[in-house]
Symmetry: C3
Subunit: 312 residues, 3 copies
């Protein structure tokens, strides 16, 4: 499997374009393998153990990783309750927990509320650590599956124009995706959000430094006809001081079927899920709706990462 | 496996007598296979994944399903915490959760507090959904294992007389079992309960329409000598307005060894478990006590359903 | 596997020296097997099911058992929530829970808050029960792995001198380890603790009756140069009436690098983990620090027990 040089996956910054290519082509291979009856990779990780160490529950992400491991024939140890480790009462450090846990498993998938915790764990661990979300920090496998969904839809990510819509200030996924898009050429990003949750300057500066075209816009309908992808996110009520503002903002950023009709015929709609009401269910039948496919792409990406990290 | 035509199992009403026959003969086959050293079905579901989606914990039911899957060589993803999905905070619909989850598993076993939720999930899911209890609604695999226990004891269910005892108004199991007994001939049902928790009229009307003989009785001792099966259930304190009434009622419906002696020699005692004190431990040694066997029958029934749904 | 005569493992008292020898040599075999690429025991328990019945969460212990089972190719049913079984609301007895559970699994690993519960479960169960800690009672696999760590370090446990430090009154591990050391010759034990948490008389009397030399000491630095092993445990704040006393005591029993230098060059430091601050992280690099190895030995011991109980 040649040039996959990572021992851990804790942040998007670890990936350059050649690593992304390896991950995506391995994901393609996994996807194809799952469609065969006589699966070639069904026992690829037989005898290996994955520990799901979730310090906060996230059934969707955990099941996606565990399904990936099971589809490759590996075994799973799981907890949604890992914070019991580091409880005030017992006071054990993440350092000690990781040190012990890496004796029991061949790969650790970790979800933690503290930014940077996956990287800390990776420094101690003798086995690969994969970050499944560390608070307001990173969620690199989500960023990879988002990018993979673009690649899957347009075959070439270069040249794609994308609108990111909703809560851009606090949204971990849109930040990571923006970051990774700088690896590609002729990207154009539109940030569409209410004033209170605009994309932070650090990302915008980074994009400019990397010759990525970007613009801000608060009117979703203006942007819809222009882009290849509309990436929707939830707008959270608690960001708004005045409940009136929330109702107004939420209404403006709902992508209903009428707005969908303003999009290009071959454009796509993405969403990291869970959604609340920013995409009504009526949109699900539109061929542009790709969010459930996107969730499924998480399986292929996680299979690819597990295989690349464990089966070298 | 020929004529097993179901894609999902969400309610007892899906089963007619020919489907019941297929389930029971497959359960027989599973039971026999487990007793062999060189098990023929040990890898029947190798490479398949079952997701246990429990929106409320029920260790017994969950383990019964997961043991069934493991005995057939399948893999398991599990949560007792699935309600985190649909939390007020995130607000995701069961529709979306199911849509995502069916990409990660080959069969979904769901426990939910909301009646009808398993059927809703089945409508969306691209993989089989099995209802493991939906609130006050259905618990079809319990009804199947109850019926299978009768069949296992009397070889022919036709002609069986059964007393259902305890909380008949709120007891999901006695309602479903009553319903399924209409598929058989010459059944006689005695409903034995305190006044406050008598069987509802809908079931009694349904029985009459289907030519099933039934009677109501509040004196357990009168019925004991007449029946082939005494199906005990818990009487819950909170149903009674006056605590005195509860003590009186509970006392009347305790099946102690003295009362057991009033039963026919070849009659059987069933209980869906957990029990509290309606059957004292002294009864366990009596050969008529079949409630632990009944729990074990749950394993065979669930193996049968998994095999029929996944290995066609 | 000859003379392993136990059907269950619920307390240290079940082990005599010949049983300990069998467990330790099997653990050696497991450890060696894990280091081979073409593992001989990878499928030793294929088709077997272990149920982790944790009435209170303990991710570390649970993962250690589950990793052991997975390394031998077995399947796992798991709950950290087993107390839901015996909830006041449902009121089911451990007797009934065990009775049902032993139909679903080939071995039950149980953690419970009630002393004696594992033994109670073993009396009912038709499959092996392993005690993974029952409140203030026993934690026999911890005692076995502690002893195995001594054996692993000194090849012969006879003649070992050991200081047990910290909370000796409430510490389950030091009590069990003291008990098992009576099976060996020429042992010397130093109990080093603040006044409020000295070792209870029952153990001291038992040691004397079994010709084991022991002494009490409150100055850790005096003992350090004398012993082959320093077994550290946490001192819990809540044992002290006066917070001042705690600060003073905790300070005296911290094994920092300066104190470590007073130990023999070939002595070892053990700790059952989790640690708080009684061993600072600076000590981890010292070759005498063996607590992470000790945790790993838990894996080999548990593999050995599972194999001995299930693969006879």
């Amino acid at each position: 499997m040649s040039a996959f040089s990572l021992n851990h996956v804790y942040e998007s910054q670890q990936f350059d374009r050649s690593l992304l290519d390896i991950v995506f082509s391995t994901a393609d291979e996994m996807k194809a393998d799952l469609q065969t009856r006589d699966r070639q990779h069904a026992d690829a990780l037989k005898g290996k153990i994955m520990a799901s160490l979730f310090y906060e529950p996230s059934t969707r992400t955990r099941f996606s990783f565990e399904s990936a491991m099971a589809r490759l024939g590996g075994a799973i140890l799981t907890t949604e309750n890992a914070k019991e480790f580091s409880s005030a009462a017992k006071g054990e450090s993440l350092y000690d927990s990781t040190h012990v846990m890496c004796g029991y498993a061949d790969v650790i998938v970790m979800r933690h509320s503290e930014p940077g915790s996956a990287k800390t764990a990776a420094e101690v661990s003798t086995v690969p650590v994969i970050n499944a979300g560390d608070g307001s920090g990173q969620h690199p496998t989500q960023a990879l599956l988002d990018l993979y969904t673009l690649k899957d839809s347009f075959s070439n990510i270069d040249g794609v124009s994308i609108a990111m819509v909703g809560d851009l200030k606090y949204g971990r996924t849109v930040r990571s995706l923006s970051y990774l898009l700088t690896k590609y050429d002729k990207i154009k990003i539109y940030y569409v959000s209410p004033d209170v949750c605009r994309m932070d300057d650090d990302i915008k500066t980074y994009l400019t430094q990397n010759q990525i075209e970007w613009a801000e816009e608060d009117d979703l309908t203006k942007v819809l006809p222009l882009v290849d992808c509309v990436y929707m996110t939830r707008i959270q009520k608690e960001r708004f001081h005045d409940p009136e503002d929330y109702v107004h903002a939420a209404g403006k950023y709902i992508l209903d079927l009428k707005k969908v009709q303003m999009m290009k015929a071959d454009a796509i709609i993405m969403h990291p899920l869970p959604r609340v009401d920013e995409i009504p269910q009526e949109v699900d039948q539109d061929p542009r709706a790709r969010y459930f496919e996107q969730a499924l792409n998480g399986l292929y990406i996680r299979m690819a990462l597990l295989k690349l990290l464990l089966d070298q």
